[in-house]
Every structure is written in C-alpha cells, then in structure tokens.
C-alpha cells in the first residue's frame, strides 16, 4: 500500500488518473532499477503476472510518462525504444553489443565540451545523447568460442 501511494503521488503530480495499468507499469519500472526495458519487456512481465493489459496501453502509458517526465526514452542503435525512470540526473550510456546490457555514466568534462561545441556552432542545445558501444567485461571473458 505504501508503495502504491508513492506511485499515486507520482501520477497525481503528472496530472494522470490513477489506473491499474499505470500503477503496474510504474511499479515494473521501479523494480527494474537501472535495467532499461522495452515496451514488449514490460508487456511480457504484465502478461506473465496475470494482468490483462494490452500492448497498446503499455505504449500509450509509456508515452504519457515520457511527456510527464516520469520516464526517459532511449533509442539505441537498433530499431526499438527502451525506457527508464527519470531520476532527474542526466547520464550517458555504455551499451554491450553482445548481451544488450546497459551501464550508465556521467562525465562532467564531456558535458562541458558538448555545450562548447553547440555554442560554437550556433546551436541552442535542447538535448544530447552519447552512447558508447562495446563488449562488456563479462561477455569478454565468457567469449570462449
């Protein structure tokens, strides 16, 4: 109940009605921690836990959450989006090309340089995304073939 209240507050603040799909999806994103999930991931979890929630609803809810700044959507190099709770902290991503795992990082120096670059080019920066692709340590060591 306590957990749900927290979510209700989040939803209220976002000006969204408290509905079961929205609560469940928020809950899944919260328990996901820093794992980045696709709409299908979330849908699968819902189905597996017996909830009868449509994929379209998952997409709609995620889009609303994005608009309400509750979640952030990322487009990595493939053709589908992944979502994570918006912690308010900007960060960039290290994406493992083997297992798809995502690590977060920030680098103040890089941030600063980015601003400089945008400024010099006469761009009013609205956003930026930096993704480093590579093979994570576990995948390197387990690549026995």
């Amino acid at each position: 109940m306590v957990k749900l209240n927290v979510q209700n507050t989040d939803l209220k603040k976002a000006g969204l009605k408290i509905t079961l799909p929205r609560m469940k999806i928020l809950q899944i994103l919260e328990t996901a921690g820093d794992r980045h999930m696709s709409a299908e991931d979330i849908y699968r979890i819902l189905i597996e836990s017996g909830d009868d929630i449509g994929l379209a609803t998952v997409y709609r809810v995620l889009t609303q959450f994005e608009e309400s700044k509750l979640v952030v959507r990322h487009h990595f190099s493939d053709n589908h989006s992944v979502f994570e709770l918006d912690t308010g902290f900007h960060h960039d991503h290290l994406v493992c090309v083997e297992c798809g795992d995502v690590k977060e990082f920030t680098d103040a120096l890089i941030e600063k340089r980015q601003c400089k670059v945008a400024e010099k080019a006469g761009f009013a920066m609205t956003d930026h995304s930096l993704n480093i692709y590579g093979v994570c340590h576990p995948c390197q060591t387990s690549a026995v073939l």
Copy 2:
C-alpha cells in the same frame, strides 16, 4: 566516364559487381556532400531523374555499402536511418530539431574521455555515437512565431 571509373574502383574494392543502381546511388551520395540522406531521399532522387530503381534495391545497396564500409548509417532520434559516405574520419553530429539539418564536428578531448570511460567500465569499445540536438542558428532567427 571518369567519374564512373572512380566509382567502379570503389565498388570493385568492395567486391561488388558494377551495376547501374549501385553506381547511381554512389554518385548521389558523392554529390550529397555532407548532407545526410535517407533511403527514401535517394529513391526520390532516382525516380525524379528518370531511373527505374526500386526502393528495395536502394535499401539492399545501402546495406551492402555499409557492410563494405563505403557508407555509414546513423540512427538519429527518429525512426529512420540516414546515410553518408564513409570518409574514414570519425565525427559526431549536431542535429537541428527544427529543420533536420545535420552538422558534423569532432572534439579530441571528448574522444579521449570516451575511451577512458569505456576502459574504466571494462568495456572493449567497438563504436560510439554522440548526437547533440538543438535549434540551429538559421532556425532560431527565423522562428518569428
């Protein structure tokens, strides 16, 4: 003829047969300079110049070119890919969210830091992409509304 020979060399080096669609598409990419083009952009140009080349062929050729390192594919924040000739120079992108214009830049410091970040995280970096989104100068000044 001279122009075509240059392209033939490129294609030969890539181990690809010299065909009309491939030559035309290479030519379009060459004349595009640093403009980044989508498959549809290229298709449209082909159609408009009277060539009877299918969209599927454009996609196939671009994918082959990418595999042969003749072109680079980028996924900006929308859902379709853009292509540019692979000059061999790594560079990052400033993307205007108003007009879609793309400017290229490089920053040695950022590059260096990225390597450090990957190293520290135990990632064997294979690639990285940095996109700065914003409003370009022309769009800022022409935004009269």
